[in-house]
């Protein structure tokens, strides 16, 4: 009989309810598991709970897009994840989010490296349950979209670093190359150099940014 402390963070009560049902189902199916749950719908409460030294969480389920804390310190699940790494080092992290774009997923994977990563639209009760079970057993879990994406990017991921990703991201937002230095803290020549390098990696002609972005999207960097 193991009692697990679980923290559920999502701005949507319905989704927390979903998690609760999933935990209930796990408990029903397996008598060994017992859960004590905490939940938060915003960053402030979540941060308080995470930094509470009395609490020892075994599993933290985080949504990425959350209403920010009042003091402005925590604005997303990502910030909370960083906090959890610090205060709850033993807790398993399960990111469960609506996927916006590959770039974000890649960033999260690089920065936080969570134990589980679910894209909400992939999930059904079975996936949710198996993800939780897997994590509690000490395994990792990625939902199918995340899995495929990581597979796609693996080819170039060691060549494309975070700055490159940013460049691609801003370009895709329609920002002109000459304006990129304002957003990146890089010089224009550095930006051009990186672009040129990426084009070399993707093996595409030098001039065309459009093709670069198409290729980046194809390869899962966007």
């Amino acid at each position: 009989m193991a009692n697990y402390n679980v923290l559920l963070v999502d701005d949507h009560p319905m989704i927390i309810a979903g998690f609760v049902q999933a935990l209930d189902i796990i408990k029903e199916n397996n008598e060994k598991f017992d859960f004590s749950r905490d939940s938060a719908v915003d960053c402030t409460t979540a941060a308080e709970l995470i930094s509470d030294k009395k609490k020892k969480f075994d599993l933290i389920c985080l949504d990425l897009s959350l209403p920010g804390s009042k003091d402005g310190k925590y604005n997303s699940g990502e910030d909370l994840a960083k906090l959890a790494k610090k205060h709850q080092p033993k807790a398993k992290l399960l990111i469960c989010t609506m996927l916006e774009n590959n770039y974000k997923v890649l960033n999260v994977m690089r920065r936080i490296d969570p134990d589980g990563f679910l894209v909400k639209s992939d999930t059904n009760p079975d996936i949710l349950i198996s993800a939780i079970e897997n994590l509690l057993k000490g395994k990792t879990y990625q939902s199918s979209t995340v899995h495929q994406m990581l597979k796609k990017t693996i080819e170039f991921s060691h060549n494309i670093d975070e700055e490159d990703l940013k460049i691609l991201f801003y370009l895709s937002k329609g920002i002109l190359t000459k304006n990129l230095p304002e957003h990146l803290g890089l010089s224009l020549s550095a930006v051009e150099k990186r672009k040129k390098q990426m084009k070399q990696f993707f093996d595409i002609p030098n001039r065309n940014d459009k093709i670069l972005l198409e290729k980046a999207r194809e390869k899962g960097f966007l």
Binding site: H12, M14, I15, A17, G18, Q21, A22, I25, S65, M98, L99, E100, N101, K120, S121, T123, N124, P125, L128, L171, S172, K173, G174, L176, T177, K178, R207, D209, K210, L213, R217, L222
Partner: protein, 666 residues
């Protein structure tokens, strides 16, 4: 008023230019020949009056004024010696015509001959007036030689009328002018008459000085013998009056050194002979005095020198008086008196009366009374004449003053009108300059406005894009964050509900939740696409070109191919602006005139030449090379010039038009 003056100036100029051309009018050659023949006949023959009348009749037929005046003058001085009525007719007509024709020289010439005519008829005041007119006119036109001559003539008349002061003033002026014009003969005459005048004024020293001046002036005159002799005679007269008879005799003797004096000038010869004899008598020398005097008298009687005769008679009377032969003295004195009376020679009448009074003491009272009466009346007469001269001179001065005033007025009008012209032309120049500046300013404003419009176009397009993007972002976020999450949460709970209730076997339920999952995926993809298409949408200038083509609806009417491979973000905005306008212009030209079915537009970057190649080609009817370029084409050319580009228009009638523009980029 100003305009009026301006026109006056202009008209004056026109007339000044016109009048000389009139003198070329032809004259009937027959008429001219007959006049000339008569004039020649007149010069050669006797029976002059008839001939000159005939000539006058012919001259009157001449229609050309200037020629008529010329011939009238030719007749005029010939008629001077003949019938006085004819002369007056000719002269009157001449003056009238010359005045009408405004030929000042001829007016003056006619006045001169009229003056000569009047003098000949002893009408001294009228002569003086005519000479005065002539003198005034010659002075006006700057003919100083004749001006001096007229003054001299006037001075002679004044001298005769004993207006010595007036004469002296005129003569000094004559001397000045003739010295300037180097007319030494006239200079001599002036000095000589000045001498006479001063002699008459009893300024004997001054008279001697003037006579010496006269003799000096003669040094430069040819054939001066007679003049010199006359001046010696005058000098003799002065010394005689000074009672320096030896010097007088010396001077009189000098006269006889002139060769052939008697043949040349019997008047002078007789005068000198008589004067010499008289002076010798005064020195007490009696030898050959009477024969000399008698010879002089004989000569004077022979040449009918009336004034000389009376003097000779007086001198002879003096001679008889001095030798005591009173009877003969009285006889000659009475003769002299008669001669002088006949001749109206007042001087000699007076002298004869004086002499008679001396010779006949018993009758001296009667003679003296006559003498005094005459001399009184003479003085009155002289005063009258002098006053008349004075009046004439005053009137002339008045006329001259008026002329001067007119001259001044003319100068002022000229100055004012030229000032107005200068001001007018400078205002004109100023206006031209200002309108030029204004057009330059307008051009500059146009350019600025063009650039602003282009910037606005860009801005508008950017704003449009921004708005689009914002709206798309908003929709994407809404879909993603709210609807999708809501949908997901509900689906999830539905699924758990199924789980719990154990309705696993209900396939319909499973399908429904799966459908919901599909909807979620679709929405997610939609949201994804919405937020990922910015780059494609944001093409900047290429976008504007597409917008333009769309706006002009070229696709509807023509088959259109556009090839734009230029990265416009690197290109200066003025090039883009001009390219945009040029494209607009060419497309409008194509739509209006070309009747084309296919249009090809190409923008490409030639990296080697560092220039943009911009080609618009159509398959329309084209145009002739020699056709004048329209405003559209001119605008295109000026735009191309503005960005230092080159334009090449390749068009033949019936085989389409290709406009290639090469724009250098930095």
């Amino acid at each position: 008023m100003k305009q009026w003056i301006f026109f006056l100036v202009v008209f004056t100029l026109i007339f000044c230019c016109k009048s000389p051309s009139e003198s070329t009018i032809k004259i009937n050659p027959q008429l001219r020949d007959s006049i000339l023949t008569y004039l020649k006949k007149f010069d050669n023959s006797t029976g002059k009056e008839k001939i000159i009348k005939k000539a006058f009749q012919f001259v009157q037929q001449i229609e050309n004024d200037s020629l008529q005046i010329k011939y009238l003058y030719a007749i005029d001085y010939r008629a001077l010696n003949s019938d006085s009525k004819l002369f007056l007719d000719v002269n009157g007509l001449g003056i009238e015509k010359a005045k009408k024709y405004k030929d000042t020289t001829f007016i003056a010439d006619f006045h001169w001959s009229l003056g000569d005519y009047q003098l000949r008829n002893n009408k001294t005041d009228k002569a003086y007036f005519s000479y005065n007119e002539a003198q005034f006119l010659y002075n006006l036109i700057g003919d100083y030689e004749n001006y001096a001559q007229m003054l001299y003539n006037q001075a002679l008349i004044q001298g005769q009328a004993k207006d010595f002061t007036g004469a002296e003033v005129n003569l000094i002026r004559v001397a000045e002018i003739s010295q300037q014009t180097q007319n030494y003969e006239l200079l001599y005459k002036a000095y000589n008459v000045l001498g006479i005048t001063n002699y008459n004024l009893k300024n004997f020293d001054v008279a001697i000085k003037y006579y010496n001046n006269a003799l000096q002036a003669l040094g430069k005159v040819e054939d001066s013998d007679l003049y010199r002799a006359a001046t010696f005679n005058n000098l003799g007269n002065v010394y005689e009056k000074l009672k320096d008879y030896d010097l007088a005799i010396k001077n009189y003797r000098k006269i006889f050194s002139t060769k052939n004096l008697y043949d040349k000038d019997p008047y002078l010869y007789a005068m000198a002979l008589d004067n010499l004899a008289y002076n010798r008598l005064e020195t007490g020398e009696l030898q050959n005095v009477l024969p000399d005097m008698q010879e002089a008298l004989a000569i004077r009687e022979k040449i009918q020198h009336l004034a000389g005769i009376s003097i000779s008679q007086l001198h002879i009377a003096d001679y008889y008086k001095s030798i005591g032969n009173t009877t003969q003295a009285i006889k000659f004195a009475e003769d002299a008196n008669t001669t002088a009376k006949n001749n109206n020679n007042n001087r000699d009448i007076l002298k004869s009366w004086q002499l008679l009074a001396d010779l006949q003491p018993e009758d001296s009272y009667a003679y003296t009374t006559s003498y005094i009466d005459l001399s009184d009346s003479l003085q009155t007469e002289e005063r009258k004449v002098r006053n008349k001269f004075e009046r004439i001179r005053f009137e002339t001065e008045e006329v001259m003053q008026r002329a001067e005033m007119l001259e001044e007025e003319r100068t002022i009008i000229f100055l004012i009108s030229s000032l107005i012209i200068i001001i007018g032309s400078s205002i004109f120049v100023f206006y031209i300059q200002r309108s030029k500046n204004r057009s330059l300013e307008l051009q500059r404003d146009q350019k600025i406005a063009d650039e602003k419009i282009y910037e606005l176009l860009l801005l508008q397009s950017a704003r449009k894009d921004e708005g689009k993007r914002e709206e798309r972002d908003r929709i994407a976020r809404e879909l993603h964050d709210n609807i999708l999450t809501e949908l997901y949460a509900n689906r999830m709970n539905l699924m758990f509900y199924k789980y719990k209730k154990g309705i696993k076997g209900d396939e319909k339920f499973g399908k429904l939740t799966d459908n919901l999952m599909d909807v979620e995926k679709q929405i997610r993809n939609l949201s994804h696409e919405l937020s990922n298409t910015y780059f494609d949408e944001h093409k900047e200038f290429g976008d504007l070109i597409q917008d333009l083509l769309h706006k002009l609806q070229l696709e509807r009417t023509h088959q259109l191919a556009v090839d734009d491979s230029v990265n416009w973000s690197q290109i200066a905005s003025n090039i883009k602006m001009h390219s945009y306008r040029i494209l607009q212009e060419t497309i409008m030209n194509i739509q209006k005139h070309a009747e084309a079915s296919f249009v090809f537009i190409k923008f490409s970057l030639n990296e080697e030449a560092n220039e943009i190649e911009f080609i618009v080609e159509d398959d329309g009817k084209g145009f002739k090379d020699n056709k004048k370029p329209g405003i559209g084409l001119k605008n295109i050319k000026s735009r191309v010039e503005d960005i230092n580009g080159k334009i090449c228009i390749d068009s033949k009638q019936g085989s389409g038009t290709k406009i290639s523009i090469f724009i250098p980029i930095k």
